[in-house]
């Protein structure tokens, strides 16, 4: 009888051990399944890919996003740059980045003096409360940036699907 209990005890210990390993494995799998999120560092890297080593000055770029967003799947976003948009002084490109979506890029826009106004609107996805940054490249080779903090209550990108 005693021997049997001993045996049970041993097996119980083993069972617990294997259960622990299993749980650990499951946790690892869950981490692997979640898409790698962009971080402020990867965003900086993405910005440098577009800008190179040129200095980025703050200002002249304005992003209009509601400060509190209920649904991150569709967030209205307007970017405007303070520029006269003449043949000699205009905005060449505007790039929009985010900090915490799976990918740091949002949209890259190319324009020229024909635009008349350096302004565009779109609807974007936001996976989390985060900062959105826009960088404008001007015809004189300078870069300007603007950013805005957004609070998102329902995130995009990571929700389960039903179909």
């Amino acid at each position: 009888m005693a021997e049997k209990i001993q045996k049970n005890r041993r097996s119980r210990r083993e069972v617990l051990k294997s259960a622990g390993a299993l749980a650990g494995g499951a946790a690892l799998m869950r981490i692997a399944l979640r898409p790698a999120a962009a971080t402020p560092a990867t965003m900086q890297e993405a910005v440098r890919d577009f800008v190179g080593e040129a200095p980025i000055k703050k200002g002249r770029v304005k992003i209009d996003v509601p400060p509190i967003v209920e649904n991150g799947n569709s967030v209205p976003c307007t970017v405007s740059v303070d520029s006269p948009m003449t043949a000699t002084d205009y905005v060449k490109a505007i790039h929009v980045f985010n900090e915490k979506n799976p990918q740091p890029h949002v949209i890259s826009v190319t324009l020229g003096p024909r635009a008349g106004r350096a302004n565009f609107s779109t609807r974007i996805r936001l996976a989390d409360s985060q900062a959105v940054t826009a960088i404008a490249e001007l015809s004189d080779g300078t870069f300007w940036s603007g950013d805005v903090d957004v609070i998102v209550t329902l995130a995009a990108c990571i929700e389960e699907t039903t179909h």
Partner: protein, 107 residues
């Protein structure tokens, strides 16, 4: 698959006037990060290029990423220089294109 496109271009404008062009196209913009019921990720399917030409000259171009919401809406400005055609084209990652044109009369 790129669905129906809705565009708004003012039919008439004064020469030199800055006009707003609004566009929206039906498309899922699947990010590639969502997991389907089978447990496998749903493959990415996005429109990645948008181009606006005014009488053949490119006036606005956008490169889209998965962070653009489904049924991409884009609005922007351009200067009405002459009467003619404004053509808007969307291209998805597989190379399929949809073009929508609008006539504009400039006085």
């Amino acid at each position: 698959m790129i669905g129906r496109a809705l565009i708004h271009v003012p039919p008439t404008a004064k020469r030199g006037e800055v006009i707003e062009i609004k566009t929206m196209v039906a498309h899922v913009m699947e990010t590639g990060y969502r997991i389907g019921v089978t447990g496998k990720p749903i493959p990415r399917d996005i429109i990645d290029q948008f181009v606006c030409t005014y009488n053949g000259e490119v006036v606005f171009r956008a490169k889209l990423f998965p962070a653009i919401a489904a049924n991409p809406f884009i609005s922007f400005f351009t200067v009405a220089t002459e009467s003619g055609t404004i053509a808007l084209s969307w291209t998805d990652q597989h190379g399929a294109t949809r073009v929508q044109t609008a006539a504009i009369k400039v006085e």
